[in-house]
Structure formats: C-alpha cells, structure tokens
Assembly symmetry: C2
Homo-oligomer: 148 residues x 2
C-alpha cells in the first residue's frame, strides 16, 4: 500500500496554521504539564520575515505557566473524511509588553468566548512540523451518519 | 448577558470522551513539553469502577516521554456552530505489561493510521474537567461557507 503518512513542508505548515484559528497549547506549570485550547492568530514581521503566534488570555494558569517557563508546544489539526492533518510546533511563549500589544490589533485574532482577556502572549516558533495522514477507518462505513 | 462558560460535571466529561476518539496528549520529554494527536479509547474496570484512557503507539518520543516522566495532560474538544466543548484531564501514563495488553482488544480502539504500533499506553486519570462555551464569532456570519 502507499505510505499513509506524508510530511508537510514548512510553508505548508504555516499555510495550514493560517487557515485555522483553534489550537491547543501544552505548557509547564511548576513540574506538571498542562494543555489548553487556544484561539490564535499568526503574526508576520515584514522586516525580519519571521512568523509567530499570538493569543489573548486572562490572568490564570496559562499566563503564569509561560511566564515561569517559556517552553511550550502547540498543535492544530483537522480531520476530514479519509484524511487528517496535524501541525505541531515548539516555541517560547512570552507576554507582550504594553507597547507591543497593538500587534494583536493588526491580526485576525477573534477571541471566541466573550470573557475579559487583557494579556497578549506571543509564541516565537523554534521548530514546526506537519503530517498528513490517510485514515484507515473501515468501521466508519458500518456506522450510519458517522461524524466527519 | 448570560455566562458564556459552563462547567461540565465529571459524568458529562466522561460521556464526552466516550463520544470522541481523537485527542491531544501533552507530555514531558527531558525538560521540554511536547504535544501529539492521539487516537484513544476509554477503558472501564467493572470491579473498581475506574475509567482510564488507552492508546497504541510505536516506539518513539511519546512512549519514551511517558516512560521517563509519567505526568501527562490530555485534551479533547469539539466546535459546533455557536458552541464549543473542551475536556481536559491530568493523569499518569504507563506502558501496559504484555499480560495486560489484551485490554486494548476489549475497547473500541481503532488506530486511524495503518502503521505498526505495538505498545499500549494507559493514562490513569487523576483530574478531569470540562467546559462548554457559547461562542462569540460575529465575523463568521460575514464569511460565505465558513467552516464549522
């Protein structure tokens, strides 16, 4: 059979991240690993050519986690019939200073939930990779009106 | 306005996990946090009444990560029109011994990708919580054929 996993190029990974707005961030909090859904947008610095992720958050464990330990991982995926795509990145999270927060105004960052989130966090990406899978789900054909 | 976030009961969290089969695991690997999509199933011990998650994996960073540090977090979410649900759990990952691996045969654990995965990992759940959100996405109405 054909190889069921294809690796995405870096450009394909970024294009995929631009097409989506919900991911999950893994982060440290003291000696535990935590995970949370995150509504993000991609920022692009035209001078350096560098891409990064931005998100808004309230004071809480996510913000405390990245302030205490900047090491984070982030994942975005999509399942569509017989195919799935997953992009994973590693990076460094940091809270933007007040004079940088305007960057969040210039990207399509739309918090999905209408609760106050005053802090902007940037994830500077150090490593990104993506995989596209051909799914092997024969049992799906046995389920009437199976989801996705 | 109404409170846009509702907390799920523990029973609702488990029901949500049973209805899904794709989540993302956050785990330690040396001093870094990692994240990976995981195709899982729920196992239930009728004697103890205890629930846990099972998944299959090849030799690789996920298995190495949980063997070196059992602390993991796991997230499953669903976005559906104006509503989103996210369940997050913490737990301890461990590779099942050979004489326990039959447990993976007794649950609806269907690896989506047809690559060899000989190891079964169990996540013993120590903490579980879930949130249901009313989404505030007015811009969606401006996008023809917006996804989801």
């Amino acid at each position: 059979m054909d190889e069921p996993v294809r690796h995405l190029s870096t450009a394909e990974c970024w294009a995929f991240l631009r097409e989506h707005e919900l991911g999950r961030m893994a982060y440290h909090l003291l000696d535990e690993v935590h995970i949370a859904p995150i509504n993000y947008a991609i920022d692009h610095d035209p001078v350096t050519g560098r891409h990064s992720l931005l998100f808004r958050t309230a004071e809480g464990s996510k913000l405390l986690g990245v302030v205490m330990n900047a090491d984070v991982a982030f994942e975005v995926d999509q399942v569509d019939g017989e195919h799935a795509t997953s992009v994973v990145l590693h990076g460094r999270g940091r809270r933007l200073e007040e004079d940088e927060e305007h960057r969040a105004e210039n990207v399509p960052l739309h918090p999905w939930v209408d609760t106050p989130k005053w802090n902007v966090v940037e994830i500077e990406v150090t490593e990104i990779s993506g995989r596209a899978f051909d799914l092997s789900r024969p049992w799906q054909h046995m389920i009437p009106d199976a989801p996705r």
